[in-house]
Symmetry: C2
Subunit: 332 residues, 2 copies
């Protein structure tokens, strides 16, 4: 057993022992904060973890990331692999970020190669939707399933797909963009600028936009036109029986059902896992969703044994997904 | 080297030598005919092949199939695996046919298990769309690609998907039904009875139906309302400049582009291969298709290096796909 001698801040010498077990380092790079953690291979909870502000619009992001990783680096130093999660678009094959939002410094940036070079440890990168899927599949709601869809309904609609125990990444690494599937070519514009995507019907902003348009057309509602109006405000109004608010969620659920019906025809999974803030609306969204799904699935066999589940890992999905990616890619 | 003594029909004794090379038996069960062939593992053309009428509506189908396989069975008898292709719906995991069209005898029928039991050789089953995809990926237009979509535009729209060298089958074996993806929920009914599927816009019958409806609405055209009117007749009228006929293919191509744009966002393949009679219409269909595809893809990176190709294997795709399935599933 090798030990490592270290002086702590108070000048006291401590000896830490490397227990020989494989450690994985995982990092979840979000828009507002970066989290890093180190995991022993046989343990679900981290050995060490730390969280810092992302400061995405400020320079020095790579240096901040490296310091963060160093801070949670295991004393023994026996790290088998590093997994990184970030909002897309990115290329998981090369480890390059392409054009992360609000971060001009990291456009077309070799993130995984830079981290790999610094630490001398194999480093893997993928986007937050794919990694949340991987995390739920491996540690959360999808445990035991080999074919899993994960859909997060939030400001956007993100997704990830596991097929026979493998993450769907695609040739350019841009697969599983289920929020940008066209569910109605005559539909409203999406955040990406294109029309009729699932996200343009069923995301939080889509629900808000629909309510505002209906208010403009003279619909009566307790909901007030307000700059800060959110999908949650509308859910609250719906819980009080507001007809427009209920209709807004019905429409979102209807299109979510249309989209997921197509995804069943495409992937035929055994579980569909929902995460994200808008999915917290519960039956308000999922009653019309299920009704629509059943109405649009073209063969009843797709629904046999199909599980529709809520995500279980919450905020930890990003970290655990980055960990799962590093483990799977390095064959652990 | 082992030999096998056999008497031929004329009573003459012939000795056939087993050359020790692995043989695969493949069967393509179509609506009108069954084809079987045996392949040496290192050869593309069959050692023996035979074709008989399917007589799907008549009883005794399994016996006919077994006799057909016996007729092409290699003399040495060293068959490693048998691959069967059939129209769906079917369950590739259990090898059961579920409800093949026009064949009541084979509803919920253990086709692969029956063949496996008779010959004592591992037998695999999948549907024609999946197998054509596998064949094109392994021996045809998709050679060298690891992420391939195959779409046949014909009486229906069939499809198959290969992701990182593996066939997408799904939990119930019903994945890759790309013809039944909803491209416009307000669209016309599909052959399956549900509305707005890709097949209900871009298949041969969909093109015919659109022309007939437009004729009913008073559109002028050289195309005559006729029971036998086909997509090919309409293509011919289009080649003579008929405005309605051209419009019909433009609409089919437009929706095909919408569907394939979504499939790129979903699978991010490096090749999309088109087969089927309607895809023979060439630029009449593919000019509006490509224009629509480019207009609907939400990130230009999906198109980088993307190949759009015609299927190369024609009628042999079914047999070669059954062969490829048997080889891949048995690890050859």
């Amino acid at each position: 057993m090798e030990g490592k001698v270290k002086q702590d801040g108070a000048g006291k010498i401590c000896i830490r022992y490397n227990d020989g077990m494989t450690t994985i380092v995982a990092v979840d790079i979000g828009g507002t904060r970066m989290r890093a953690a180190s995991y022993k291979q046989d343990q679900l909870s981290p050995n060490a973890q730390k969280k810092i502000p992302s400061l995405a619009s400020q320079s020095g992001g790579l240096e901040r990331l490296i310091r963060l990783i160093e801070d949670i680096w295991p004393p023994g130093g026996d790290v088998a692999a590093i997994g990184l999660g970030s909002p897309g678009p990115l290329d998981p094959h090369s480890g390059y970020l392409l054009a992360p939002p609000n971060n001009p410094e990291w456009h077309n940036f070799p993130l995984a190669p830079s981290v790999e070079k610094h630490f001398g440890v194999k480093t893997y990168l993928d986007n937050d939707g794919n990694l949340a899927c991987l995390a739920e599949y491996r540690y959360g709601a999808g445990k035991g399933h080999r074919n899993a869809l994960y859909i997060t309904v939030s400001t956007g609609i993100g997704a990830g797909v596991v097929i026979e125990d493998r993450l769907l990444q695609g040739y350019h690494g841009l697969a599983a963009e289920l929020g940008h599937v066209i569910v109605d070519p005559h539909g409203p514009p999406c955040s990406c600028g294109f029309n009729g995507h699932l996200e343009s019907f069923s995301s939080g902003p889509a629900i808000v936009k629909y309510v505002l348009q209906e208010l403009d057309s003279g619909s009566k509602s307790v909901v007030k036109r307000d700059e800060s109006l959110s999908a949650r405000d509308i859910a609250e109004a719906a819980s009080k029986g507001d007809a427009l608010a209920i209709r807004a969620y019905q429409r979102a659920g209807e299109y979510l059902g249309i989209g997921v019906a197509s995804f069943l025809h495409i992937f035929d999974p055994s579980i569909v896992i929902f995460g994200g803030g808008v999915s917290q609306a519960g039956r308000l969204l999922f009653d019309p969703f299920e009704e629509s799904l059943k109405r649009h699935v073209f063969h009843p066999r797709y629904l046999e044994g199909l599980v529709i589940a809520q995500a279980q890992l919450g905020d930890d999905a990003g970290l655990l997904g980055a960990r799962a990616l590093a483990e799977m890619k390095s064959g652990l």
